[in-house]
Each structure stands twice: as structure tokens, then as C-alpha cells.
């Protein structure tokens, strides 16, 4: 998919995220909007995961460690044909498998996440297993920046370094906010790049809401031989909707009817202006 198509996809995906959250009455709005461009580029241009190869181990893998942003993942997987929009519209209904965190009951999802600090170790295990079998596939995992306070993350990083997992790509959705407030107020994690470098990783920084920059960085994998790849994706929480961006309250706020309409209007405008750039 070319960059323009990816950019258009991002607008579409944001619309779907807002629709499913608005219609189901629950969801992690701002976090899903912050990571959607990352998922867009991964699923459309990098991962090559589709419904026909999903049941095989012999493919790339994706673990969403920041499980609460599941609406972004549901949106992209729906677009990739893992299930229909009608099925996705059952989100949060009684007995629906579409719940508020990733579950393997949904085709296309590889691991149940939601409790933070788990996905990295699982991805490390997958990357070790693929390497043992000399299989040429990569494992991608998306972590939240608030999630980095979990000690298990740093355990996982040490194993990634020990086993020289250059087939592992860790992406940090660095939107600088968590449920209580700014990450640097809640529990400071900076200097982040230096921390990761000291753990032996190959670190790149990117604008995580630019599909162009994301695509470019993903194509550079592996960054260094024998080193685990880590991308600090600097994002805006709530990216794409002016009144949601950088507002703590939107962590899991559901738009009101007016807010929903205003958000869709903004996206419609972005789409209309798109060709004029």
C-alpha cells in the first residue's frame, strides 16, 4: 500500500474506532487513536498476516501488550478480513467474544493481554522459538509507555538482549499520558532511549503518527545484527481528533453524541482536504 493509501486508511480506521466505542458504550478511545497508525502500517505493509496464514506458525507475529487499546486492533483485523463488521459491532454485548481486551477467541489475535507487562516476555519466547528453528520470521510487540513501569518488562528486555533477538521488534507507543496523568508525573521513565541502549538494544525514534516515517523505519529492520530492535514511537494520545488529543480524561472516555458527530466531522474534513495537500 502506498503512503497516500495508508494515510487514507488511518482516517478510515479512526472513524471505525470512534464508531465501535460510541456504539458499544465503552473503550479506550485515546490510546487506540494514538497507536492506530502503527497498526495500520504493520498490518498493511509489514506483517503479512492474513486469515489464510494465521493458523500457521510460519509467519510473522504480533502481540499487543498494551491490550486496552484493543479497539485499534479490532478495527485493523476487521479490515484485513478476519471477521465482518457486523460481528465486530457486537463489541461488549452479552456473550460476544469482542470484549474490552484482546482474546484468542477472536481470530487474528495471538495472545490474551490486558494485564500490563506481559506481552514482551511472550514475544521473547516466540522469538527464541523461531530462532531455534532457524525460521526467518519476526515478532512484533506494542507496549504502552505507562506499561514500562512494570518490572517484568525489564526482565523481558534482559532475555531479549541475552538471546540476541534481532527477530524481535519492540514498539513503544510513547504518548506520554496514562490514566492518572503525564507519565513523567506518575512515574518518570525518562531518559528512555538511554535506558534501552544500556539494556543492549538497537533503538530508533520515530513520529509514531506518521505512516511515512513508520514505514521507513520498519523497512530498516533489523537495525543492527544480533540486537533486539526497539522503536520509540512518539505519538499523540487521541491523535487525529483535536479535542481528544493530549487530554487525560479521554483515556477511556466514550464520546457523547455531540462529541461523536464533531469527531466524525473532523475526520470527514481531513479526508476532503486530503487530495488538496
Amino acid at each position: 500500500m502506498n503512503i497516500k493509501d495508508l494515510q487514507l486508511k488511518s482516517i478510515e480506521y479512526r472513524k471505525t474506532i470512534l464508531e465501535i466505542i460510541y456504539n458499544s458504550g465503552a473503550g479506550h478511545t485515546a490510546g487506540s487513536l494514538s497507536c492506530i497508525d502503527i497498526l495500520n502500517v504493520l498490518y498493511n505493509n509489514i506483517l503479512e498476516i492474513n486469515p489464510s496464514n494465521f493458523n500457521s506458525v510460519d509467519r510473522n507475529h504480533y502481540i499487543q501488550s498494551k491490550g486496552h487499546s484493543v479497539e485499534a486492533l479490532y478495527t485493523v483485523l476487521c479490515d484485513k478480513g478476519f471477521y465482518t463488521r457486523k460481528e465486530l459491532n457486537t463489541l461488549n454485548n452479552f456473550k460476544s467474544h469482542f470484549i474490552g481486551h484482546p482474546t484468542r477467541k477472536i481470530r487474528g489475535i495471538e495472545h490474551n493481554t490486558g494485564a500490563l507487562g506481559h506481552g514482551l516476555s511472550v514475544a521473547v519466547g516466540m522469538a527464541i522459538g523461531l530462532k531455534l528453528d532457524k525460521k526467518p520470521y519476526n515478532v512484533f510487540t506494542l507496549l504502552g509507555d505507562g506499561e514500562l513501569s512494570e518490572g517484568s518488562i525489564w526482565e523481558g528486555l534482559m532475555s531479549a538482549n541475552k538471546y540476541k533477538l534481532d527477530n524481535l521488534i519492540i514498539i513503544i507507543d510513547r504518548n506520554r499520558l496514562q490514566i492518572t496523568g503525564k507519565t513523567e508525573d506518575v512515574n518518570p521513565i525518562e531518559p528512555l532511549k538511554e535506558k534501552f541502549l544500556s539494556f543492549g538494544l538497537a533503538v530508533q525514534e520515530v513520529n509514531g503518527n506518521s505512516v511515512k516515517e513508520l514505514e521507513k523505519i520498519f523497512k530498516k529492520i533489523p537495525f543492527e545484527e544480533n540486537k533486539t530492535n526497539l522503536i520509540i514511537a512518539n505519538t499523540t494520545k487521541g491523535s487525529g481528533i483535536s479535542f481528544i488529543e493530549n487530554e487525560v480524561v479521554w483515556h477511556h472516555k466514550v464520546p457523547t453524541e455531540t462529541e461523536f458527530r464533531d469527531a466524525l466531522k473532523e475526520l470527514e474534513k481531513q479526508k476532503l482536504n486530503f487530495g488538496n495537500d
Partner: protein
């Protein structure tokens, strides 16, 4: 006849199986020595993943290895594995449904004088409350060997727990073994012992004392705690004068309470006694001293049995 420690049998069997199957992977948390897996590491260095002292990471890595098709044994002291990494066991193994075998070594009070930080008298209780996780506690070398052989290609998440003391031979080599099916070791009309793990041996020896006084007792090795063999339990206790459950675990939430729950719900009224560790600041000592102090010496078990039915 005293044989080897179940731990040693586990390590020997696993090594022999892994030599024939390169997909068998062991994951350790600086625990290969404690797990008798030093030889495994030397002979099959590509089939052991060492994460250092990091149990949460160990369990997550086990899940990941399983997800890409490996037959995974995560081996770590039961105390740390089932408390420190409980959330990983719950989410990454059980809830995500990865057929990993977690092996809790030196369980119960095996660590003796090392004290409560190292004891796991909680593990059955906490793991019983986790859906989609099977729990097996082998009593002797035979059960250990059989459960490890079964675990390799088992299709569900599994937790196996054992100690490190040389064990008495309880079963014949011709005994059949299946996860989820307890084994009746002895049959007698007066009293039933339901025991699990290393305490089966103690119940067995208690029965030998009771037999001298002409009591006839049933002994069930309830090696699988989950899924629980309710059929065998109900069949074994039919028409008995009393039931004693024995476990190297807290009285709270273990084998005894599982049996009690069945009895009450089936409206079966009988003499019934749970032997385990009470909810108190526990006494210190060797595994044997601690078990004896808390009524698990064969002699005390025999006395409790007589009090219960006479």
C-alpha cells in the same frame, strides 16, 4: 522400598525424552541445579532457556515458546513460580490456553529450615481457582515418570508439583496412569485416606500401623487435583466409617476442602478430617519435622484415624 526423589526421576525422564524430541524445551530461572537439570543443560544446551532469577519472565517466555510449537517445561521452585508469577500463569498460560507444563519444584515444606519464603503451602489453593489449568502432584517415582511422559504431548495447561525427598515405591510398574484419574492403592472397609504427593507415603505407613490393630483401610493417591476424580472419590468412600485427607499444603483451599465440598453437596455425612497446615505462624524445622509437628507422622495419622472411627 525407597527409590529416588521424584525430582531426580523428573529430570532423568525429561532428558531421555528431550534427546528424542528437539521440540522439548526447558525454561529455568537460575533453577537448573535445584531442578536436577544441570545434566540436561550440558547434554542439550540448545533445548534449555535460562532467564535468570525472573519467574514472571520465565512464564511469559514459556507461553511464547509454546505459541510457536514448542513442548515447554517451565521449571522453578513452586514457592516463587506460583506466587511471584501467578498473574503470568493465569493470563499467559491458562487464559491464553497454551499447553505449557509448569513444574513447581521443592514444593510444600521441602525447603525445611529455609523457611516460609521458600515454602509453597498456597499453590494448590491459588491454582485451583484458575480456570483451564490442570494440577498434578505425583506421589512416587512411578507417578512422576508417568505424568512427565503424559505432559510432553498434553494438550492443556498443566502444573506439576513435587518435593525432593527420596520416595517409597507405592505403585507397581504395571499400574495404569492417566491425568485426571486417581489411583486406589489399598482397599479396606474401615477408613479411607485420600492423600496427594509425598503425603501418600505417610498415609501408607499409617495404614500399616492400623493394619496391626486389625483396621482395614483404603488409600487413594489423588495425584490429580484438577480435574478432580470425583467418581473414584465417591466410589472409594462408599460405606466407610471415616475419611482423612492428607496434603502438604494449607488446610485452606486444598485437597481436603475439595473433598469436603463434594461431601456436603452430595449430602454425605460421615466422620471427616482434613490434615494439612493450619492458618498460623508456622513452626520451623526440616520437612519431616514440620510434617510430623502438624499431625502428618504415620503414627499420629494412625491415632487420628482411630479417634475418628472408634
Amino acid at each position: 522400598m525407597i527409590e529416588k526423589a521424584n525430582l531426580e526421576i523428573f529430570a532423568e525422564i525429561l532428558l531421555s525424552l528431550a534427546k528424542k524430541d528437539k521440540d522439548i524445551i526447558v525454561v529455568t530461572s537460575d533453577s537448573r541445579g535445584s531442578g536436577k537439570l544441570t545434566n540436561f543443560g550440558k547434554e542439550l544446551p540448545d533445548q534449555i532457556v535460562e532467564v535468570g532469577i525472573a519467574e514472571q519472565n520465565l512464564v511469559g517466555i514459556c507461553a511464547g515458546l509454546s505459541a510457536v510449537g514448542k513442548k515447554v517445561f517451565g521449571v522453578s521452585p513452586s514457592s516463587f513460580l506460583t506466587a511471584r508469577a501467578l498473574e503470568q500463569i493465569k493470563n499467559d498460560i491458562a487464559y491464553s490456553n497454551h499447553p505449557v507444563t509448569l513444574v513447581g519444584i521443592s514444593s510444600g515444606v521441602s525447603y525445611g529450615q529455609l523457611g516460609s519464603t521458600h515454602h509453597s503451602i498456597h499453590d494448590i489453593a491459588v491454582l485451583r481457582a484458575i480456570n483451564n489449568l490442570n494440577i498434578v502432584i505425583p506421589c512416587d517415582n512411578f507417578e512422576t515418570q508417568e505424568v512427565i511422559k503424559s505432559a510432553v504431548n498434553y494438550s492443556e495447561p498443566l502444573f506439576i508439583r513435587f518435593g525432593k525427598k527420596p520416595m517409597q515405591k507405592i505403585h507397581s510398574d504395571y499400574q495404569s496412569f492417566k491425568i485426571g484419574k486417581g489411583i486406589k492403592v489399598k482397599e479396606g472397609k474401615d477408613l479411607v485416606f485420600i492423600a496427594t504427593g509425598e503425603t501418600v507415603q505417610r498415609a501408607y505407613q499409617a495404614i500399616e500401623i492400623l493394619e496391626k490393630d486389625n483396621f482395614e483401610c483404603t488409600l487413594v493417591s489423588m495425584h490429580t487435583i484438577k480435574p478432580f476424580d470425583e467418581d473414584l472419590f465417591l466410589q472409594s468412600i462408599k460405606d466407610t466409617k471415616g475419611i482423612i485427607t492428607v496434603e502438604e499444603h494449607s488446610e485452606n483451599g486444598g485437597l481436603g476442602e475439595k473433598c469436603a465440598g463434594i461431601l456436603v453437596q452430595k449430602k454425605i455425612t460421615t466422620n471427616f478430617k482434613i490434615i494439612g497446615f493450619p492458618d498460623e505462624y508456622m513452626v520451623n524445622g526440616s520437612q519431616s519435622d514440620v510434617l510430623n509437628y502438624y499431625n502428618m507422622s504415620p503414627k499420629t495419622l494412625a491415632e487420628i484415624a482411630k479417634d475418628l472411627i472408634c
